[in-house]
Symmetry: C2
Subunit: 235 residues, 2 copies
């Protein structure tokens, strides 16, 4: 019984810390008070505070930086695989179904980015497009930079929810890379460039269409893979 009471106490303490973050008392990227001060603020023991912090660390709400203290995470409350995609077994089907979702979201996101991106954001998106191109032409893995290209576009769309959807899109890209073994290189270069240039021109429809084309290349490729998987012995 004692251990359940302890769990409840630390959950309540964790919720109080979340409330202090929501109220703006503790801010994203900033340091929070140490254990002693927190235990006074929350009127609980230091052990309870320590348990609460552990829970919040595992939820990407707080992070402990060794030697400097406990901080509110920049990616506040967004876990790495928020929607549990790693538990879906059939990766080809997962890649296809994720592309279906990306097709709903990303052309719209590209259009909003074209409408709303600042000059600085546009320069950043173009530079990121160059970076992906360079890696591809060197034959080097470009996964992380590719994810960053899509991330920068999503950030320029100016919808408060879209940055929180980025992990979903990123996971989708990583699953896709696993499945396609990075074979769609020339198509990636061409369609990324078309998206970036339409955003630069504030051409919403152009950005939407270029992103649609980008995702369609991937869809066709994965559909072929799936068809090949389903008929392994036909020749």
């Amino acid at each position: 019984m004692k251990s359940i009471r302890k769990t409840l106490l630390s959950q309540t303490a964790a919720q109080s810390i979340i409330d202090l973050i929501i109220n703006g008392r503790y801010r994203q990227g900033n340091k929070i008070p140490n254990e002693t001060e927190l235990s006074q603020t929350l009127e609980v023991s230091r052990t309870t505070v320590r348990e609460a912090i552990k829970t919040l660390v595992s939820q990407n709400i707080l992070e402990i930086r060794r030697g400097s203290g406990t901080f509110v995470c920049d990616k506040l409350g967004i876990v790495d695989d928020p929607l549990g995609f790693r538990f879906i077994g059939d990766k080809v089907q997962l890649a296809l179904d994720l592309l279906e979702i990306r097709m709903l979201l990303e052309p719209h996101i590209a259009e909003k980015a074209a409408e709303n991106a600042t000059d600085e954001e546009i320069a950043d998106i173009l530079a990121q497009c160059d970076r992906v191109d360079a890696l591809i032409s060197q034959g080097v893995a470009h996964d992380a930079e590719d994810v960053l290209f899509h991330t920068k576009i999503a950030q320029a769309a100016k919808n408060v929810v879209i940055p929180n959807l980025i992990p979903v899109i990123n996971q989708a890209i990583f699953v896709l890379m696993q499945v396609t073994h990075r074979t769609l290189l020339q198509e990636t270069v061409t369609t990324h460039r078309a998206v970036a240039e339409a955003i630069q021109a504030h051409d919403g429809a152009g950005a939407r269409n270029a992103m649609t084309e980008h995702i369609m290349f991937n869809q066709r490729f994965v559909e072929k893979l799936k068809a090949a998987e389903e008929q392994p012995s036909t020749r």
Copy 2:
């Protein structure tokens, strides 16, 4: 240093348990072996196993049922607020931006549900529609049942990713209810019914249009709220 080594050990153990779940050795809803057996399987101490289990519990991957043991969660790895929406401060803007995302996802989901729902799923969606109607006509809070209506439609869409997006849609509905104070009652009854009947008729375009209309009612309402907020002193 010792505490960091301990953390690394328990993280590795947690990852091993995740791998055993992914490989299908431990299944959703099923009990996993006790601490002693796990510490033998993973070749780590019981303390490390205990820490690993704690981490996985906080990530909604495992759950401890008192008196019966540790189980693999049904909602495997999907946390309650996976995308950190509770940390977004401006709730009216959040409601609007969530509706923008729902408008991208849900008409398509309704169309897929109309194309793919089984007879059993259709009966279930219609019964859920009746349940929401009954609560609304009784003047009782219908939030949870409303969420369930949208959830059942999403489950009928047969895309492996969509069930994992349900928490996003649910959060969006709860935020909307907070903001609108449940005023769109007649529109909810009418448009829910139109969605459910189009799904029953396997009418994809009809389901898409009815869901679009359902979300548009909400968008218009929240846009009016926002306009009123921005001009508080004009009269």
